[in-house]
Symmetry: C2
Subunit: 258 residues, 2 copies
DNA sequence: ATATATTGGTTCATTATATGAACCTTTGGA
DNA sequence: TCCAAAGGTTCATATAATGAACCAATATAT
């Protein structure tokens, strides 16, 4: 593996729950030698991708990532477009709705809106990675995304997050097949207890899915009627979002979706 | 220079005006060998920092940068905080207002809002780099930011954007000194013809400036009265923004600002 | 239809850079 | 005051980066 990929892999370790990482913690997380780590971190810092907390010396993501995101957004204004549709669905279904894009080890939400005014709320960290095998978004992405994705998704041991998480590749593949024939993915308590979700893909200029739209809700609030409503809302949003970004819904999905 | 920094330097080449870059264009821009470039680009692609336009094969920034920005924003919610204050000032002064953070070769706007309802508008590309030596934001950043910044800012030949741009280090240093004693930076037509701007710093947890707030306006609309108003508005916004992000305005600035 | 130019991508011997064990420095408690 | 833990540095060795030459695919001109 190239030095570049090793160094960029360090950036992947940051998350909403782990926003700052010290040298020794990097060593614990990666097993790489301190000397090597220090040089990598210094390079990333020199390039503005990291900065150091002046008091603790711990590293955190630097301002360069903000500029990169802004440039990317001028090229492919996916966040801006997704935002409008997610907000609209969130308001109508009064639940947590999010749009996500595939990353290396799972999907990452690019925008989330909780339209819920009611008691229980699904907690959601926008900066968290949603694993492919244990979330409805992940299953939807595997079902309708690039085939290369499945290979990388199944290359590591699948982690169990709840008792219901499928950790066998064959089981997950079955879920993916179900999603393919249904036109959407449904999952219940695979990732977090008490939470179930519905997800379906949206499409960009190349034929396969660019990302997903999903609704998450406490299992207690879910029933057949709401599920149908969710699917209808998401299908509508996906059609519009895909059109906004110059994509097209594949024929077989057009017939499956309401 | 490390391989990591060379590779990340490639990402810097993207901008609002140059959102996609092909292999040969990278070669033109950097002078680096194609073989080397190709491996670097492949590594960046494998890490999700680049993706390829499926038809043209040209590279563009990938979805990983969106996740990085989201994580950074959960750590240091600078965009979110700046947004509120910029919007307020933009509405009050009815001009283009922006907040910017230092990068390697200049500042990069993290948010901009044009409150102008009137005829002429200052055009602004959020993903563009604002050079340190030729913008009010840049001068303000050099005046109140970390001293290490000046070294890197003056390490390369200074580019002339208009007839008025100072390309001699001594001239720019004079502008910086003026900004230090005035508490703000003013520049007219140094970067773009017909445009002048006022900028001042805001502060984070460490003592030196974290970024800048600025107002840009056509020179024809500028006068002494408006300048005073701009400074007052920006000073107020900077105080509030700095407080929001846990920073403090240095004593000498507190006395200079209205 | 055929030649030519341009672009993206690959190979492999050479060379420069990355690596990590051991060592030093600073900081913050017992 | 000592100790432990964290950040950081050094330098011989091993490994990965480099770039000239080459190949393949596509677009353009003859």
């Amino acid at each position: 593996m190239s030095t570049i990929e090793k160094a960029l892999g360090l950036l992947e370790l940051f998350s909403g729950m782990r926003p700052e990482i010290g040298l020794t913690e990097f060593k614990r997380l990666t097993g790489v030698d301190k000397g090597t780590l220090h040089r990598h971190l210094t390079s990333l810092k020199n390039s503005g991708f990291l900065e150091q907390n002046p008091t603790t010396k711990a590293y955190r993501l630097g301002p360069a990532v903000l500029r990169m995101a802004a440039v990317r957004e001028t090229t492919v204004p996916i966040v801006k477009n997704a935002k409008a549709h997610v907000d609209r669905v969130a308001k109508r279904v009064e639940e947590l709705v999010h749009a996500a894009l595939p990353q290396k080890n799972g999907l990452s939400a690019i925008y989330a809106m909780d339209g819920g005014a009611r008691g229980t709320r699904v907690s959601f960290d926008e900066a968290e990675i949603l694993p492919y095998h244990a979330t409805s978004s992940g299953i939807a992405m595997l079902a309708f995304g690039d085939t290369a994705l499945s290979k990388s998704a199944f290359s590591n041991q699948l982690e169990a997050f709840t008792a219901a998480t499928s950790t066998a590749t064959s089981e997950v593949e079955k879920l993916v097949e179900e999603a393919k024939s249904a036109g959407y993915a449904f999952s219940s308590e695979l990732y977090e207890a008490e939470v179930c979700s519905v997800a379906l893909p949206f499409f960009g200029q190349n034929g396969s899915a660019m990302g997903t739209l999903a609704i998450a809700t406490p299992v207690t609030r879910m029933n057949e009627e709401r599920r149908s409503q969710f699917i209808a809302e998401l299908a509508n949003a996906s059609k519009n979002l895909s059109q906004d970004i110059g994509g097209q819904i594949p024929k077989q999905l057009k017939t499956l979706w309401p």
